[in-house]
């Protein structure tokens, strides 16, 4: 039956001009989406290179000064080696490099910045990671490959399978088929699998073409992206299979499948998002602003107490001169550090809520294949909100290290030397998010598909599926 069915479907599909022309449209859509993704990637890279170059210039300057001074020469900009200058003015650039897959899924990368200057004068609580952008663009979103796959491909699947069984039923061909010694639901499943494979092959071809066009190299992530796409396709084929078995008319199948599409792709994600915001509401950012100011004010009014308290906790910084010798900068750094400490529970509240929201979304997202796919794709591309939360956390913890590194210099009142420059902490974006989350999404999609297929097969003969006799 299988080989019969394969030849049969190939014949039918190749003579179906809808299928052929829609495949061509799909090629164009994917190539256009790939082009958009590529442009986005290139801009992101160029911006980052520019920022890195500007930062490098600053760092080269202090290197030059330090080198001159280490040779015993004079330099007019010797003040640049003060710990305050290096910690605040020179600072360091924290960057989040773009991955190759981000050409396929822009995700949240249009919302956030990928290069942020770390300077000891910044408050972590108000550190902004947002990129300068036209909000209308953020509202509309991007035409990237993930969009084509998430929204459009399910509709292509629906268009090609919604009446695979009901067409036979309505024309009476199904009676002819059922008069043969076959399991009709298995026969139908084979047809679905064959169509699935044809679409998967076509998409593989299109995606490969797109990947080649945007200059992507073969990689494990790319393979995972393909697998995710296959799993997503399988889900929609399985849904259509089940609807076909339950349904009695092609028109009703079309409406049911489209309603499911609207529900799963359009409505459910917004409902889950809205529910996450309602169940785990974010504390007020605007209230936080005043809390920060209040804390700052208290700390600035009690500079001496602050310094005392700080030194009690950091006896290693106490120098022989005695505490009264300390001036503005020591107080400044100490109060900055104390402020971070005092505010960290407040800021953590935001992170905790966001983590809870993410967990909520992760578990309820299982209800919507679109969420699973989008989530998996952006995670592979390193453009998911999880990646950005990681980047934010990396930046915050590095900021603390950065300030801590300068404390001894500030309290010693010493300038940095050439060798000290080598020992400065270096920011590096480290992601511990593996592909395990994506693999979970793939498995869930596949398991759901298989369950639906099994359910369909189990319905063979259970209902009087053919009782449509006209007499």
């Amino acid at each position: 039956m299988v080989s019969q069915n394969i030849r049969h479907e190939v014949r039918l599909l190749s003579r179906n001009y809808w299928f052929v022309s829609l495949s061509l449209v799909l090629v164009l859509l994917c190539l256009y989406a790939g082009y958009n993704g590529l442009r986005h990637f290139e801009r992101r890279q160029a911006d980052q290179q520019q920022a890195i170059a500007a930062q490098q210039e600053k760092e080269d300057l202090i290197q030059e000064v330090a080198l001159n001074l280490s040779k015993g020469e004079e330099h007019p900009s010797a003040f640049r080696l003060s710990p305050m200058n290096v910690a605040i003015y020179t600072g360091q650039l924290a960057t989040m490099p773009a991955t190759e897959i981000s050409k396929l899924a822009i995700g949240q990368s249009d919302l956030y910045t990928h290069q942020i200057k770390i300077s000891s004068s910044e408050d972590l609580a108000t550190l902004s990671f947002n990129e300068l952008n036209n909000p209308v663009q953020l509202l509309f979103g991007n035409f990237d490959l993930a969009f084509v796959l998430t929204y459009l491909v399910p509709l292509v699947i629906i268009a090609f399978t919604y009446n695979l069984r009901t067409q036979e039923l309505e024309s009476g061909r199904l009676r002819l088929l059922a008069s043969n010694p076959i399991n009709t639901n298995l026969w139908l499943l084979q047809r679905f699998i064959i169509r699935y494979c044809s679409l998967a092959i076509i998409l593989t071809f299109i995606l490969t073409l797109t990947a080649v066009m945007v200059g992507m190299a073969f990689s494990l992530s790319l393979v995972t992206f393909f697998l995710l796409t296959y799993a997503y396709l399988a889900f929609w084929f399985a849904v259509s299979y089940l609807v076909n078995i339950y349904g009695y008319s092609s028109a009703k199948n079309a409406v049911s499948l489209l309603s499911l599409w609207i529900l799963l792709v359009l409505i459910l994600p917004t409902v889950i998002n809205q529910a996450a915001n309602t169940v785990y509401p974010m504390p007020s950012r605007v209230t936080l602003l005043n809390e920060i100011r209040q804390t700052k004010k208290e700390l600035s009014q009690e500079q001496d107490r602050v310094l005392d308290e700080y030194l009690r906790n950091h006896p290693e910084l106490i120098r022989n001169e005695g505490q009264n010798a300390y001036g503005y900068w020591q107080g400044y750094f100490a109060s900055q550090e104390l402020m971070e400490e005092e505010l960290s529970p407040v800021i953590n509240r935001f992170d905790e809520q966001l983590t809870k929201q993410q967990k909520w979304v992760d578990s309820w997202g299982l209800l919507s294949p679109a969420v699973l796919f989008q989530d998996g794709a952006t995670e592979l591309a390193g453009t998911s909100s999880k990646n950005y939360n990681e980047f934010k956390a990396n930046v915050r913890s590095f900021s603390l290290d950065w300030r801590a590194h300068f404390m001894p210099f500030v309290f010693d009142n010493t300038m940095l030397e050439h060798s000290d420059l080598e020992a400065l902490p270096k920011f590096e974006y480290r992601s511990i998010l593996g592909t395990s989350g994506v693999l979970v999404n793939i498995s869930v999609l596949l398991i759901l598909s298989v369950l639906m297929a099994i359910r369909g097969l189990a319905l063979e003969g259970k209902q009087e599926l053919l009782s449509f006799s006209r007499s």
Binding site: Q4, R173, L176, L177, P181, S471
Partner: protein, 233 residues
């Protein structure tokens, strides 16, 4: 070959088939007559296992249909009133596909010979089915039955809507198959065709078999009188 034993089908309160008993031997062409809704198609659907009987049993070649539907489907061929095929495939391709689903493998020339046997003109073999007339499509149905080496033929008003010539050709095909010991059950409205082609006639009314006779016992006009008599009561 075909046995209906107290075969009954109920839809909620509606008795579609009431205690039908029927025997059709190899070589018989049994014609079921009756108005729309009399239970003709229900009988055929029960033999095809498209629906399950409420009580009683349908038996083909000593196998109870509802017990082992896959086994009996190897024996039967079915031609509905309107044989719908895949329009974008040729007659030959359609035959190949359906016969393949029945688990048979044939070479191209064998398939061609079945079509010839079924009386389809050879220039039509490779044309797409959407260009076929109804009679041509019914011939593909017959070719399927031949290729399947069916022992039982179940026909649901196969000649309605055919022109007299096509109808006549179809009857001749049935006769040829019956000579090869195929048992045929045909539901029809066509009294003339039933008398000409059939060996036995059954008249159904409101789910009951009200009359059974052999075609040799009766002539055309008496059959019509008898039929109308039953219908009017």
């Amino acid at each position: 070959m075909l046995h209906a034993v107290n075969l009954t089908k109920k839809y909620q309160e509606n008795l579609a088939l009431d205690n039908l008993n029927l025997v059709i031997e190899p070589g018989d062409i049994y014609c079921l007559l009756g108005a729309n809704g009399a239970g003709k198609s229900t009988t055929i659907n029960l033999f095809l296992n498209f629906i399950a009987p409420t009580s009683g049993k349908a038996v083909i070649d000593q196998i109870e249909v509802s017990k082992d539907p896959q086994a009996i489907k190897k024996l039967i061929a079915y031609i509905p009133e309107n044989l719908v095929l895949y329009n974008e495939l040729s007659g030959l391709e359609n035959l190949e596909y359906f016969v393949g689903l029945a688990g048979m493998k044939y070479q191209q020339d064998e398939l061609v010979s079945f079509l010839q046997e079924a009386g389809l003109q050879s220039e039509a073999f490779k044309k797409r089915v959407k260009t076929y007339s109804k009679g041509m499509r019914q011939k593909i149905g017959v070719a399927m039955a031949i290729a399947k080496r069916a022992k039982v033929l179940l026909l649901d008003e196969p000649t309605s809507g055919l022109d007299p010539k096509a109808s006549n050709e179809f009857s001749e095909l049935l006769l040829r198959l019956s000579q090869q010991n195929v048992a045929t059950l045909m539901a029809t409205h066509d009294l003339f065709r039933a008398k000409e082609t059939g060996t036995d006639i059954g008249i159904m009314k409101s789910g009951k078999l009200v009359e059974q006779l052999s075609t040799e016992e009766i002539n055309h006009s008496d059959l019509e009188k008898l039929y109308l008599n039953h219908m009017n009561n």
